[in-house]
């Protein structure tokens, strides 16, 4: 079955690469932040902006405030890394990393950025490493938003074909969990397909 030019083989490969990348991320977080957790099996789907907005609304609770960190990455495989963590989880994260009872807003923001850094660096780096291509990370930005309106109404109207790779991260002991979205669009989908094709050729050569 094909999904916008992606065959089942492509999707299986991407899922496999993501599993490796996520394992890498979990290990790094355990090592660097001393937090032991797990990541759910990644969901991979191809959608438009409206579908993305709808998917985010289904995934993220509307009844809470969320820290949303967005980080762009560039290269043959480029796109946007999105990490969404509830205000409560972010507070636990700040508490864990800064080892203070009441972390300041600045502490929490820095903690969220730090976790995002590790997640994006490990997941995207590993993914691009597996695909034999280089990646450049751009400065992330974090904002605290009410509910799950991550995409503005104007942007929902834009037409883009998007690959959504999403997973959930949980650290039970620290009571921290968050959602990760890796988004790439239009031309990059072809680029990613070409990279996966090359990887498949390598493996089955």
């Amino acid at each position: 079955m094909q999904q916008n030019g992606f065959t089942d083989d492509h999707l299986d490969m991407l899922r496999e690469l993501m599993n490796i990348a996520m394992g890498n991320a979990t290990a790094s977080i355990a090592d660097l932040l001393e937090a032991f957790g797990k990541m759910h099996i990644p969901q991979i789907l191809i959608s438009d902006m409206e579908g993305l907005a709808s998917y985010i609304q289904q995934t993220i609770s509307i009844d809470q405030r969320n820290y949303v960190t967005k980080q762009l990455f560039g290269g043959m495989f480029s796109g946007e890394f999105l990490f969404v963590i509830s205000e409560e989880s972010a507070l636990h994260l700040g508490h864990h990393l800064y080892d203070v009872d009441n972390p300041s807003d600045g502490d929490i923001l820095d903690a969220v950025i730090e976790l995002t850094n590790i997640l994006s660096a490990t997941m995207i780096s590993r993914l691009t490493e597996e695909l034999n291509t280089k990646v450049q990370f751009f400065v992330p930005s974090t904002e605290l938003i009410n509910g799950n309106a991550l995409i503005s109404q104007e942007d929902i109207m834009n037409y883009h074909r998007i690959i959504i790779i999403s997973t959930q991260m949980e650290f039970e002991h620290q009571n921290i969990n968050g959602h990760i979205f890796i988004l790439t669009k239009d031309g990059m989908i072809e680029s990613l397909k070409a990279l996966i094709d090359r990887k498949l050729e390598e493996l089955y050569a």
Binding site: S28, L97, E114, N117, A121, T122, P140, T142
Partner: protein, 428 residues
Amino acid sequence: MVTIPYPNVLLDALEIGVMIIDENFEVRYWNQWLEINTSHLASEMIGKNLHDFYPQIDYKVLARKIRTTLRLESPTFYDASVQNRFIEIPRTKITTSLLMNMQLQVTISPYIVEDGLVMVSIYDISDLHELKLTLQSQMKKISELNSELHRDKMIIDANLLIVKMDEECKIIEATAAFLDFFGYQPESVIGNYLPRIFGEVSVDFDTIQICDAIARHQKSSGEVKAILASGEEVWFDTVVTPLNDDESDTVSYTVIFHDISDKKRIELLSITDPLTKLFNRHKFNEVFENMVLRRHWDEHRTFGLIIADVDHFKRVNDTFGHQSGDRVLIEVAHIFSQTIRTGDILARWGGEEFVCLLPDVDREKALYVAEKLRLAVEQLHFPDVGTITSSFGVTIFASGDTQESMMHRADLSLYKAKENGRNRVEYL
């Protein structure tokens, strides 16, 4: 690949701060940008610990970031939205004082991983941050203004009778107060024509002047009277205002209806005789004065003045009491009102005396009206008083006349009518 022979020159030429430190925060490189902006020379920094110069940095966090950078061989970042989480660098901008210190964006990149060295790049994003702060401040102001506007709109909606109309006099919007006042449902008003709407509830509402103003694309105001279906008489001061779009083309009109019924009632009381409901002497004098001052009267086009007096009225009062006397005056006023023409001005002058101005009459016509009034009174019959009569003095405006001269002649005529036996009309 070309090897760059003088990397220091390149790093010094950058418009960012660059330092190289190890995992223990020992400074290995300090570029020119940092020398200039921190006032610490490379010679005094290199080989020293960053902590000696910047003790305020959270070194636990910095250590963790350096470790992450080295372990992942990927850059890590400080949050750029919080001021001075790294080092403080004073800002020299004079023209604005939003930021005293530079807003920094700090990236820690792996340099020589095996030696535990990282490169810390410091970007001055103060201008960007300043713009963000200005924008936030403006947005806050806009939000406050919007709240005020919303509050004002709610007050207007609840209290003012306003409709917005298109060029065809079709209603686009109506306030809740308007709907409530006239007892309309929004669906019956929006998209409907104003004359049709008022036709349903008002038996007497002149929307012509409103629709005329709209047809002429002009601002206009005026007073209109409406008699509601309930029979209640309501007066409105209406203001029609064209609303222009950016290109100055009129796209819609607002009509504000201000209920001035109370004002009208007070106004009416001040010019009305309480017993007979005719104009009082004050209002009569005002109209009389205006009429005399008009310059267009001549021998062919003039106006008349009648003074009427109920004969032996004192006797009526003394014999049958003041209540009967009042009833006589009310009936006389009523029969006079029924008898005069539209446009004639009738008033109670005082006591049992009435005055009437007759525009555009000559002597004969004035005498004819006075005679009609006399006959009308003569035919009245009161159960207790029986019949009554009245006497009339008539005069016509002549060139050079004043209010006083005309009143004087009319008075003399009335006196003559009384002298000649009452219940008659005399002219002077």
